[in-house]
Subunit: 359 residues, 2 copies
Amino acid sequence: MSTTESPERRGASPGPERSGKANLVDVARLARVSPATASRVLAGRSKGKAASHDRVLAAAEELGYVVNGLARSMMGVGRRSVAFVSAVMVGPTFATMAAAAEQVVTEDGHLFMLCTTHGDTERERALIESLAEQRVGTVLLVGSASTAEQDEQRVASYADSLGRVGAQLILCGRPPVAHRPDIANIDYDHTGGVRSAVEHLLGLGHRRIAYVGMTAGMSTEEQRFRGYRAGLDGGAIEIDEALLVPTENDPDAAATAIAAFLPEHPDVTAFVCHTDHIAIGAGRSLRAAGLSVPEHVSVIGFDDTPLVADLTPALTTVHAPFREVGDLAGRIAIGEPFGGSVVLPVEFIVRGSTGPAPR
Amino acid sequence: MSTTESPERRGASPGPERSGKANLVDVARLARVSPATASRVLAGRSKGKAASHDRVLAAAEELGYVVNGLARSMMGVGRRSVAFVSAVMVGPTFATMAAAAEQVVTEDGHLFMLCTTHGDTERERALIESLAEQRVGTVLLVGSASTAEQDEQRVASYADSLGRVGAQLILCGRPPVAHRPDIANIDYDHTGGVRSAVEHLLGLGHRRIAYVGMTAGMSTEEQRFRGYRAGLDGGAIEIDEALLVPTENDPDAAATAIAAFLPEHPDVTAFVCHTDHIAIGAGRSLRAAGLSVPEHVSVIGFDDTPLVADLTPALTTVHAPFREVGDLAGRIAIGEPFGGSVVLPVEFIVRGSTGPAPR
DNA sequence: CTCCATTCGGAAAGCGCTATCCTGTAACTA
DNA sequence: TAGTTACAGGATAGCGCTTTCCGAATGGAG
């Protein structure tokens, strides 16, 4: 094989203004200084007095120099970015939280990125691993979590992987991982919110109150359903399994489920829904069945999604502190000290979809 | 000054299982191979036959090794990520587009990140620069753009900066940059959508049709307003400046604007709104004024935001192809060839908020 | 048993940057 | 004038990885 010698290795610069990718060495050469000096100037670590200072700046400008953040990060310099990981990005639920976190994080000079898993565990794992490889600074793992034991272990392993690369994991809107008080956690009061809803209905004279949504499997489902049980307990009312309407978190699915449920249970006067989305589907179904809200039946949602105040009737719901959760998470991400775990309060908001029980 | 000698410099490995950050060299040492071999094995570039192969894998496992993606990227290896840049993240408008793009991009193994500018030009510039520094692969710049000339130049400079680091810029949901056919562009037919809306109203007998929203300054505003003018022209109706209701893109602002507009213009029978958000505000205001939709007045939105089909009455609107735009953008980002510029069609959807003109 | 074709794996050169030294020169104090 | 003190800025050693380029095994063929 002929010894093909690579040309112009370490030769004189062939022409710096090629506008093709220029690096620090090129800039330094054009400015007639050492790379060290160029680095100092461009990173603002120079007093800025000397004449070479301006030459470097001019050279960088002329060459259209863009610093290589990867190389810089490798030296452990620069702010590390913050990743917001949730199941979905459509829907204002997470968006509100993300926007709040982004605000505070961006202001501190970090790059904020939003990533989604589509509820796929494998995708989630791959994503977190990928983020760890890219040396992200903080991962915000957001939203309902499977309550299966192996899932808890999986999350714990995320915390370990991230910890190994100097990144932190913050759980948002989900319960803490058992036996891992070291994993930061911000949740809000799902149980208390639903409990307030039930108590409100009891106060209005309702006695046959259905619960619409899943009751187990995911943390949010279990937490909210627990509130339903607690509310009924408080009113000394036995829970009736027949009044549980399982449905996916989707208006259409909810509408279908309610439509099937209604004929069998004409005595039900109120529906407590796992989410606003479900409540919307319920309302649709109720209207289709000739029932009027809130005259005949009352409906309550959860989340206080934007726009639900504009429905007719306006939806009575539980306002979740998405903004507050995101804000706090962002502050922790940028270094604010935080002691492990917190549960933020929710606010029960009475609007037009609930009224006195008929009779 | 006492010459403080740094300890254990290049000394024998003190104990690899420290679980603190382990690097490739540590793994190689533990597996009793060279870093080169370890690299080959971990990157799946080894035939996998040799015994050392398994030793490397075991060592990596034991040390909890996480490859440094930064260092790897510096060698020009690995997929580069895709950034979705828009003004806001709340609201389903962008979310739908982002979700579609994310789907295809993630499937191809890229990291997808969503970033926001909050409509702040300076923030946008800083963000794009930051992304360029981090050697992102593609930037999707999404949503309405200022039509000022300097803004066009700014966007052109983004394309240049990104180009210099081997990244591409794709404009989504905004018009192309003049004289820069090299900048990829995906827009949808704002003008045609509004024009259809106006024509629909004309067909229903409406003659006094107001336009609600800004009419200039941002590209989307100009494009949609142009549709209003074109529709009126087609119906041979003179445009009446008094029927333009300027308002921010926000239900509350729109409601206020309409409330002030109504008393002066009792003859108006239809409102074409710049967005669904504005239409919702308009509806609220109309109802408050005792006017019923669509019996007394007709209202049309734009975007076909989720939930607007659930309003009472369901909103007649223009369905924007957010999903299609995002999907196409994603495909271009992962390398599908694309010839510069395209405008996707919209779909006018008649629902319950429009009806025959009264009288 | 020797020779050549493979394959495996090590040494070493960077990728582009920053950090630690260290020297030369300018600016001061005595 | 001599003796610091200051600081600009050069040389250089990496950060953790990949990747030629080669030598050393290994194995099959003659």
